[in-house]
């Protein structure tokens, strides 16, 4: 079987702030009634996490779940397990109105690491990156320069960014440029 390749094939740039292709990550778009017990337990089964509150994300060891909209979650699972997870979700949710679809290959996935990681985002997204306003546990869907993106922090110095695969190169270059021009030191 041919190897699956992530969009930037593991590329990395930067020193004090590092931007890297975070590799293949299994991702599933799940649409449905987020308050339904059946869905809640299916999500728990697939990811080990409960359905998060609005704008929140739970993510650990390659598995997680993010609130994307009132009727949409993004489930994060290891890349190779995504199809199986979709199948289990479909089975668990049979008979309810829902949609589970593997979107792992439709995404690019990056990590921004370093003390000024917040600045990298604040230069390109209309989001308040002040620690009082945004921190680990929260996911923000927004615009980064001219492309749609979502990001979350796993700790104070690590930000994960996802965007569409086709703009992966653009996003990588954008993040790297933002990182290379240094900190603003305004937080």
């Amino acid at each position: 079987m041919s190897e699956a390749v992530s969009v930037m094939n593991g590329a990395e740039r930067g020193t004090s702030i590092r931007v890297r292709d975070a590799g293949l990550q299994g991702m599933i778009t799940l649409r449905g009634d987020l308050s339904a017990a059946k869905l809640k337990s299916a999500v728990k089964a697939a990811t080990g996490h409960a359905v998060p509150k609005a704008r929140e994300i739970a993510f650990a060891d390659g598995k997680g779940v993010a609130w994307m909209s009132p009727d949409e979650l993004l489930l994060l699972v290891p890349y190779g397990e995504a199809d199986a997870a979709v199948a289990s979700l479909e089975a668990a949710l049979a008979g309810t109105h829902s949609l589970a679809v593997n979107v792992s290959d439709a995404r690019a996935f990056f990590a921004v690491e370093g003390a000024s990681a917040r600045d990298v985002i604040a230069k390109i997204a209309p989001v308040d990156m002040h620690p009082d306003s945004f921190g680990p546990g929260e996911l923000r869907r927004t615009r980064m320069a001219q492309a749609a993106a979502a990001f979350w922090m796993s700790d104070a110095e690590t930000i994960h960014v996802i965007c569409f695969r086709s703009v992966g190169q653009y996003m990588f270059d954008l993040l790297a440029t933002s990182a290379e021009t240094g900190a603003v030191e305004a937080f």
Binding site: A54, R55, M68, S69, P70, E72, P126, R141, T142, R143
Partner: protein, 109 residues
Amino acid sequence: MLTLKCPYCGVHADETELHPGSEAHLKRYGPGSSDDEFEGYLFMRENPKGVHFERWRHVYGCGKWFLAARDTNTLEVFGTYSAQTTEPPQEIKEAITAKRPGWSWREFQ
């Protein structure tokens, strides 16, 4: 440069994260409607200098359409609310009345 609060995800979204969608609360007229009705639905637009109801989509965020009550002359926002309604909710109407007594817009006041 507007900011509008998305009623679905609670984000105070910058205008650049949103997509404007023109007049709110339009009733669709399909086959069988009169020329007047169809013209009114598709083309005749409320264009007030003052209180206005309009559609926005949180396109870079949760992707949901929502509705906003806004003054086109001052850009004051009276409130945003769900798109799944055929008329402005009571609290939105009251919020407008508090600021613009005597307002009216189409059949609403």
